[in-house]
């Protein structure tokens, strides 16, 4: 709100430090563990003949980058969704983004037998964007008349519709089911084959738009009438927010598949740490998202050797209990 409080700045610095640690772990841990010195060497003096360096540069580095982008995007998108719908249970999936991506992926598998990671990733983004646009139009937000309830309902309805179509398609064709059931859990393992640079740019644009809308969303949090009398053009604020959510979620779902729960969890942890101002929350959730995602990814690599547990599973599996613990402690420990 009033610039960054000193405490907020400290919290953000601590989160950034923790994220750096998680990033290092993400480079070191796996079926072929690397010592910190080895990982560092592979980064600064890569040796193409050293298989350890190849693993790091071709597998773990893209995977780390995808985790950073997808995690930050989901965290920030969750903040935006909760702010614009004024609903503490809102999460990016509510806008129909994940259902749209699912439908596009399944349709691709059903009609054209698409099954490689790069093509699925390319299908997921337009699917997500179209679904979000449809929710926006159905919710009538373009005319400034759409309240948070209409938007939420439009998202829920479209999600139900698209998921029933997905169900119908995968029932008819087993190949489509096979493709979809792996994709839908969410994974960073195929990051190297996904359009990393492009999606990073899309997410960055979404993130900057989100930060620019922060003050207007702070006004919107006080209610529609209060926001407008504070000079916020609420129709445009909603439109901009949904554009940012679409960019952020579209990038995340394209890079990692529909990772569940992170977009719900990160905003709540952020609010507990830095208070209800939208801009500080965006920054905090943008750090918490990748922190949780990278830790879940690392845990998934060592949980069931020699295999891997997909990051979408680990995020909810580890994040759920931690989230409940934190939420309970925050309630109890809230200053009187």
């Amino acid at each position: 709100m009033t610039g960054l409080h000193a405490r907020t700045a400290l919290t953000l610095a601590a989160l950034a430090a923790a994220l750096a640690g998680a990033a290092l772990l993400a480079l070191m841990v796996g079926t072929r563990p690397l010592a910190p010195a080895q990982a560092w060497a592979a980064l600064v003096q890569p040796d193409a003949a050293d298989p350890a360096h190849v693993v790091l540069r071709q597998l773990r580095l893209p995977r780390l980058a995808a985790g950073l982008v997808a995690g930050a995007a989901l965290g920030m998108a969750g903040v935006l969704m909760q702010a614009v719908t004024r609903n503490p249970l809102a999460e990016p999936g509510l806008l129909g983004v994940n259902a749209g991506a699912s439908f596009a992926v399944v349709l691709g598998a059903f009609l054209f037998g698409v099954n490689d990671s790069a093509a699925l990733s390319a299908l997921a983004f337009p699917g997500a964007a179209l679904a979000a646009a449809a929710v926006f139009v159905l919710g009538g937000a373009g005319r400034g008349g759409a309240g948070p309830v209409r938007l939420t309902l439009a998202g829920a309805a479209l999600t139900a519709l698209l998921m029933s179509l997905v169900g119908a398609l995968v029932l008819v064709r087993t190949e489509a089911l096979e493709v979809w059931r792996f994709w839908v859990v969410g994974s960073l393992a195929d990051a190297g084959s996904r359009p990393l640079a492009m999606m990073a740019m899309v997410a960055l644009a979404g993130g900057l738009l989100a930060l620019a809308l922060g003050a207007a969303l702070d006004a919107l949090a006080l209610g529609e009438e209060a926001a407008r009398s504070l000079g916020a053009r609420t129709g445009w604020v909603r439109a901009g927010t949904l554009a940012a959510v679409t960019a952020l979620c579209g990038a995340a779902v394209s890079l990692a598949g529909p990772v569940a729960f992170l977009g719900l969890m990160a905003p709540h942890l952020a609010r507990a740490l830095v208070g209800p101002g939208v801009r500080p929350m965006l920054l905090a959730a943008g750090l918490i998202g990748p922190l949780v995602l990278l830790l879940a990814d690392v845990a998934g690599r060592v949980a069931l050797p020699p295999g891997e547990v997909r990051v979408g599973v680990m995020t909810a599996l580890l994040g759920g209990p931690v989230f409940i613990l934190v939420a309970r402690r925050m309630r109890l420990g809230a200053p009187a």
Partner: protein
């Protein structure tokens, strides 16, 4: 044409006409109370004055200019509205909530300026909240919370301040506290205040100018003595009442018969 005026205003929700052909000049630099029975259109009128709804016919002017021809932000720097049920974000402190009143004065990515801080400090001081600035809003009493919202509107630094039933939900001492605060802000800072109120006798005590509405029209306006007559009360509310002089202030006191 200074101040806020409604000219031949017709307001409707979809097809249902709530206010029809209403013309009204709100005296600048005064406290005006809008009175009337439930559903008479007084809140709707206030929303139209605050540019929240677009009139079906007629216009609202601010210093002679059509309020809908002015940019949203420009209006927000001159006219503030405290709605009936604003929402306090979960966990927000008094100081942070009042700071949000600075929204129309801040740039897109601008930081918190010295002028912002001065406006917030003055708003907190005027409402007696300086010592509570770091407290969560959720911890405050109803009367204190209403003062926080008024402080937010003060931090907005508008010459006109519109309030929609600011004393609803408050007990009598807190109602008096809020109304006394509004009058003090008017007297000390020269702000024009327009408030929708339910309590007729309190309105007579604290407002300079009363507007009595019924069925979307203005029945009477003027000083409390001019407006609050047994005949007008019968016409507006269907209420048979005596009007006597308030033994404390001498203003009209409505005693239902």
């Amino acid at each position: 044409m200074t101040g806020l005026r409604a000219e031949n205003l017709t307001l409707a929700y979809d097809r249902r006409i709530v206010v029809e052909g209403l013309t009204l000049a709100l005296p600048a630099g005064r406290v005006t109370a809008i009175l009337g029975p439930n559903g008479c259109g007084k809140s709707t009128l206030l929303k139209a004055l605050a540019r929240l709804i677009r009139p079906q016919a007629g216009r609202v002017t601010l210093d002679g200019e059509d309020i809908h021809a002015l940019p949203t932000r420009a209006v927000a720097r001159r006219l503030g509205l405290l709605p009936q049920a604003p929402i306090a974000p979960e966990g927000i402190t008094v100081g942070d909530l009042v700071a949000r009143g600075r929204a129309p004065w801040r740039g897109l990515l601008a930081g918190w300026s010295a002028a912002d801080e001065a406006a917030r400090a003055a708003a907190l001081a005027a409402t007696g909240l300086t010592d509570l600035a770091a407290r969560p809003v959720a911890d405050l009493s109803g009367g204190q919370r209403q003062r926080v919202w008024i402080a937010l509107a003060l931090a907005q630094q508008t010459e006109h301040l519109l309030l929609d039933e600011p004393t609803t939900w408050l007990d009598l001492p807190h109602q008096i506290e809020v109304l006394a605060l509004l009058r003090r802000l008017n007297r000390e800072q020269g702000r024009s205040i327009v408030t929708v109120l339910h309590d007729l006798s309190l309105a007579a005590r604290f407002a300079d100018h009363l507007v009595l509405m019924a069925a979307g029209r203005v029945l009477a306006e003027g000083t409390p003595e001019e407006v609050l007559t047994p005949g007008a009360l019968e016409d507006a509310f269907g209420l048979r009442a005596l009007v006597i002089a308030d033994p404390v202030t001498g203003t009209p006191l409505v005693v239902p018969a």
